[in-house]
Symmetry: C2
Subunit: 251 residues, 2 copies
DNA sequence: GATGCCAGCTTGTATGAACAAGTGGCCCTC
DNA sequence: GAGGGCCACTTGTTCATACAAGCTGGCATC
């Protein structure tokens, strides 16, 4: 499926692991074995297994054979950056409604995040999102000025804004940065999500970039407690997650 | 500093980026340039820049020069898995107190997480952790039976359990899996963290493995809202973070 | 039977070469 | 001036080889 050789091999290994041909905790064949079996060089096989290691499927340490750590496949970048794509892959029915859409000057923080001039205009969008009919997430997004026209052209019940502007305006997300913490529901949050005020919400703020490193949007998503869980796999070789002190501590 | 050539080059590039020699948004020299400059082959340089890409410092796409995306260095695995190491690196004064330590049969979930027999014994530890004198996190950990003796031998005010058992019993964490969500404070949480009952807490449950894939501990950490923020960087090439539906949705 | 050592296997690091694929800027045309 | 096409440059993929470093299991020893 993957167009390059090492992606093919990686996909085949993923399948073999998921199907149980390489059970959880078992040791994978050596690189030389895999290279011979696939008629590829050891370097190519190493690229394939490096992919699986970075996905957290297998563990690797010098001298010892690689070990199977998990069986499920990791989500794609698209599914993490797009609520709609994720929900669809989960088999949930997703719907969204834009409640507000206004062009206004950027605050200082927004300008800094989007790498725009302070006081430049941005597009603010308030959206309520449902899973299987239940309100699950409130989304407050600020779009950079250069994508605003594409977003303003979309209908109120657009399911996936990122998908739509990728298709119509060729604005494709490539990098993302995510800040995750917990906050108390404000009165607007509480009304929209149908929870009590000050009840716990999981907040995911994220910044999305194009392939060239240009900021697209800065958004504040608040999930009803219990509706989603974030999952990170890390190792001594790769630690994609960071922990930062919040205002209560730095203060 | 790094013992291998590509780690040296990566560290030098990190320094250059952090110091502003390669400003944010600027384009890095080509692989050939770097290879010539460092007297290394292109393959070695590629390993170095691949490291920085995986750390989210630079972006990469075929045909175009690499772009500087951030300047700060990413935390190490140790700092993510050890609250004490992280706090120390932040320059905060950290203290901990073990409030409870009991050996009891594992629940079904605990046995499944630790890959132990249901009903086998585990060590339950309840700990309260402070940053700069303020209570910030409640930690409820279940240790696998084979590490229990090492943990039981530690004093009540041990600052870092993971550090201690790594040094004394040669139990070294190598992989970790993290589940992050928001919950309401229970009465015990509220009393210990000095917040109101049902106020929002950021929960980080995590499972720690040895290099050989053996489970060490399964823990439930609850942070006072506002005290910490988790941060993840991802790209189309690597998405280390997943989102999962919680019980409210799968219901 | 327990312990320690060693040989062979396996992964990690590094080189050099070649071709494929995508980008960006230049130049030419309309 | 706008648009399109061409080309040099850059990153991505793959190969073959060599050596370094760490692990495992079996053998010899005590």
């Amino acid at each position: 499926m993957g167009r390059s050789r090492y992606e093919e091999i990686a996909e085949a290994l993923r399948q073999a692991i998921r199907s149980g041909a390489h059970p959880l905790g078992s040791r994978l064949p050596s690189e030389s074995d895999l290279a011979a079996r696939w008629g590829a060089s050891r370097g190519t096989v190493r690229q394939a297994v490096a992919l699986l290691v970075s996905e957290g499927l297998i563990g690797s340490r010098q001298g010892a054979r690689r070990v199977v750590l998990r069986q499920e496949r990791r989500q794609s970048f698209q599914q993490l950056n797009s609520f709609a794509q994720w929900a669809r892959a989960m088999g949930c029915e997703v719907s969204s409604r834009i409640l507000e859409r206004t062009v206004r000057p950027a605050t200082d923080e927004e300008a800094a995040r989007l790498d725009a001039e302070p006081g430049g205009e941005v597009l603010y969008v308030l959206r309520l999102r449902h899973l299987d009919g239940e309100p699950v997430m409130v989304e407050r997004t600020v779009y950079a000025e250069w994508v605003a026209p594409a977003v303003l052209a979309l209908p109120e019940d657009c399911v996936s804004i990122m998908d739509s502007i990728a298709e119509r305006a060729d604005v494709v997300a490539h990098y993302g940065e995510h800040l995750i913490d917990a906050v108390a529901a404000g009165s607007e949050d509480a009304r929209l999500l149908r929870v009590r005020r000050a009840s716990p919400l999981l907040r995911q703020r994220h910044l999305t970039y194009t392939a060239a490193g240009r900021a697209i949007e800065w958004t504040d998503d608040r999930y009803r407690a219990g509706s989603v869980v974030f999952n990170v796999m890390n190792s001594a070789a790769a630690a994609p997650l960071e922990r930062h002190a919040g205002p209560d501590v730095t203060g």
